[in-house]
Symmetry: C2
Amino acid sequence: MNVNTNDDRCSVNVIHEEVIDRVSQKMPDGDKMNDLAQLYKSLGDPTRLRILFALNAAELCVCDISALLGMTQSAISHQLRFLRQARLVKSRKEGKMVFYSPSDRHVTEIFEAGLDHVIE
Amino acid sequence: MNVNTNDDRCSVNVIHEEVIDRVSQKMPDGDKMNDLAQLYKSLGDPTRLRILFALNAAELCVCDISALLGMTQSAISHQLRFLRQARLVKSRKEGKMVFYSPSDRHVTEIFEAGLDHVIE
DNA sequence: TGAACATATGAACAACCGTTCATATGTAAG
DNA sequence: CTTACATATGAACGGTTGTTCATATGTTCA
């Protein structure tokens, strides 16, 4: 028999309550899901993706990345701040220049899983 | 000696030309990068992520997902359309209901790579 | 110190995104 | 045919995002 949950956001009948309960228990908690979504969102922009790809191949300064991607220094710098705050890259200062590199190996792994999907 | 690229979008000096050339050759072409960014963007929203996680555990109809996530049927339906167009889920009609499931195994792999990153 | 350069940052703006609301489509049962 | 239900969809709205422009910070060198 179908059960009506009657919560205030969804008034439709719940058709498969047992399945829902089972899935509900497996579902990671909201915070973890938000973190994961935030991670994917960070990778969800071509500029950031190209920056990360480049840094994965070599340590580069802001000016290098700017030239490599053919974009303004400002745009790159803003994105680097984003990536730094997301802990996806780290920076090292050397004189006037700041060199960036990936902050950990996980990023590379996620990259490759994604590439497999796109290539197929 | 430093080379000035002098293209119209970046007028700063290129400091490490050889490194840039090397990275430039490895860089996947723009279309592929855009596709990959689009894939990550699809995963970059908590609602879509939770839908995908749920479908990964069980085939569900729209109404089930709506109840499971505590969100309106309309919001879920819009997101499902998004996911269907991104070829991340497929649908199967059975009477009045439409059942959704993941469209391929790659999504699961990308998921897990991401979870590893977040958990650590 | 002052000029030149590398990088960072704040404001502003257009484009995009996720949800809501109202309503349409499609199916099953009476 | 009519009602009830499951899903889909278009318009609209507020919030977010990526870039640009102008400018600030910090470093090196003369």
